[in-house]
């Protein structure tokens, strides 16, 4: 019996393998990981883990023993060089050809880096190796009193900036647009985040176009921006987004467009191949493509993908959610705010401890919460149940949002 092969041993890949077993699939499963490490959690890499240098074992999504116990054949350091859909096999870098009964692509994404020759001291933050190298670079910068320059004021960049400030580094963030996290959150949230970072001593520079990196003896020494300004840097973190890893799929002829195109059930254009997680672009009912880079998406799409491999339909329809930690501010987001036409705030904007409720055509579509955990948890339930509080009620601090859930019943 040919195995189900899963390419990519991250969050989505592990989820597919485990869901297959939970759904009583008893055939062979091959889980191929490109890295030397077993499956691990990536979110802490730019946050707590970077500061505290925990034991890598504590990052594990599952222990390798637990994976083996479920008769999942995990292979590390395993690079796939091609997929041959016509022959239903994958080719490995070592020349092996592995036949599959079903194939899952969970290849993730790679960090978008700046063009130009590689320099030491320039980091993306995606892998455990990246984080370990960056943690070491932080110590070198501290020893030399050299600053960190972060390129990109998005989640990863800001999390790294916060962590570096906690460690005592001097930090400058260079953002190409006019505000922080601008692709995801409303200006009011950006402004609150900017206040927090400034209060912690981060230099924020907006509307800055990075032209390139300046190096000395192969080591980065500064970031050069349009207009000729140079920001001295002991190390540089590039946080300008990721590129979905769809090269194998595209070369195999699968439909791709900034990601492997999948439907709500995680099926690709090939009936034997599914895909899940950061590598995908999901086709929505209205024909548009949605890219989500989050753990929640990897898990839910992974469950859909496992079902699809077993010939079942389990569409992923749950409201997406995300989180970010910056200093002691917990930013939690649920829903997609794109296209909102009204925004209501609840809580204390100055502290900051508030939530932004996004509405489109009078209906609630998303909620961003800064250190308002209760609002976030409630908002997940409201959105999942299609409950839309009236904007005036959302804004009224005396109004108990939870009463809406009780009224509708469980």
């Amino acid at each position: 019996m040919d195995p189900i092969i899963i390419i990519g041993a991250g969050q989505a890949g592990v989820q597919i393998a485990e869901t297959l077993r939970q759904e009583h699939y008893s055939g062979p499963i091959l889980l191929l990981g490109a890295e030397a490490h077993g499956p691990y959690n990536r979110p802490p890499l730019s946050k707590k883990w970077l500061l505290e240098h925990h034991d890598p074992a504590q990052l594990a999504i599952r222990s390798i023993e637990a994976i083996r116990r479920r008769e999942i054949d995990l292979r590390l350091n395993c690079e796939v060089v091609a997929i041959e859909p016509a022959r239903q096999c994958v080719r490995l870098a070592d020349g092996q050809s592995l036949p599959y009964a079903g194939l899952a692509l969970t290849t993730g994404a790679r960090v978008r880096m700046l063009p130009g020759p590689p320099l030491r001291g320039v980091f993306g933050v995606r892998t455990l190796d990246d984080a370990q190298a960056l943690a070491a670079a932080f110590e070198q910068c501290l020893a030399r009193s050299a600053p960190l320059v972060v390129i990109g004021g998005g989640f990863i960049g800001l999390e790294v900036a916060a962590t570096a400030r906690k460690r005592g580094l001097e930090v400058t963030v260079l953002e190409g647009l006019g505000r922080l996290m601008s692709r995801v959150v409303a200006p009011i949230v950006s402004e609150a985040a900017a206040r927090v970072h400034r209060a912690h001593g981060v230099q924020l520079k907006f509307d800055v176009q990075v032209e390139g990196l300046v190096g000395r003896d192969g080591q980065v020494s500064a970031v050069r921006t349009a207009g000729g300004v140079e920001y001295p840097a002991g190390c540089v973190v590039v946080g300008i987004g990721v590129i979905p890893e769809d090269r194998l799929a595209a070369a195999a002829g699968l439909a791709c467009e900034r990601g492997i195109i999948v439907d709500a059930c995680a099926r690709t254009s090939d009936p034997k191949i599914v895909a899940a997680g950061d590598c995908t672009a999901r086709r929505l009912a209205d024909g548009t493509l949605l890219r989500l880079e989050s753990v929640h998406n990897a898990i839910e799409q992974g469950k859909s993908a496992a079902a699809a491999l077993l010939g079942r339909e389990r569409p992923f329809t749950a409201t997406p959610w995300f989180w970010s930690d910056q200093y002691d501010v917990k930013l939690q987001m649920v829903g997609l705010s794109h296209g909102y036409d009204q925004i209501i705030t609840r809580g204390d904007l100055q502290k900051p401890a508030f939530s932004a409720f996004y509405y489109r055509n009078g209906r609630l579509i998303a909620v961003d919460s800064l250190s308002r955990i209760g609002d976030h948890m409630l908002a997940r339930k409201l959105l999942d149940n299609g409950i839309s509080p009236l904007p005036a009620k959302a804004a009224d601090p005396a109004f108990e949002l939870a009463s809406l859930l009780k009224a509708s019943g469980p």
């Binding site: 485990e18 939970q22 959690n41 979110p43 802490p44 946050k47 707590k48 504590q58 990052l59 594990a60 999504i61 599952r62 222990s63 637990a66 994976i67 116990r69 479920r70 753990v295 929640h296 898990i299 839910e300 749950a318 959610w321 989180w323 930690d325 917990k330 939690q332 955990i373 209760g374 948890m377 409630l378 997940r380 339930k381 939870a402 859930l405």
Partner: protein, 107 residues
């Protein structure tokens, strides 16, 4: 190592050995206990490692933080007197044998 006795959704019982410095959630996901998700890796952001601590034992644990209490207010499964987030439970030898139960859903 202290052990936590974990009953999963299908009634299956596992004795989880908790290494020093590990949370109950970390040990549970490490052992692949069905029904403990721990999506956020213990960052107190997702509430998908909800568990029920045996009511007889609950008072022996350090009280939950304000943040944990807020997350517990709207967990996916029913909230009970023993509801805790297992990423916030750290045990020592004095809590050896702590019984916990996995709720029917986390999402």
């Amino acid at each position: 190592m202290p052990r936590v006795i974990c009953t999963d959704v299908s009634g299956h019982c596992t004795a989880l050995e908790i290494p020093p410095g590990w949370s109950v959630m970390q040990s549970a996901v490490d052992r692949s206990i069905e029904g403990i998700e721990g999506l956020c890796g213990g960052m107190l952001a997702c509430a998908t490692c909800h568990c029920y601590v045996d009511p007889q034992w609950i008072a022996r644990l350090p009280a939950p933080s304000a943040e944990e209490l807020q997350m517990l207010e709207n967990v996916a499964a029913e909230r009970r007197a023993g509801s805790r987030l297992s990423c916030q439970i750290f045990v020592d030898q004095s809590l050896d044998g702590l019984p916990i139960q996995v709720p029917d859903r986390q999402l």
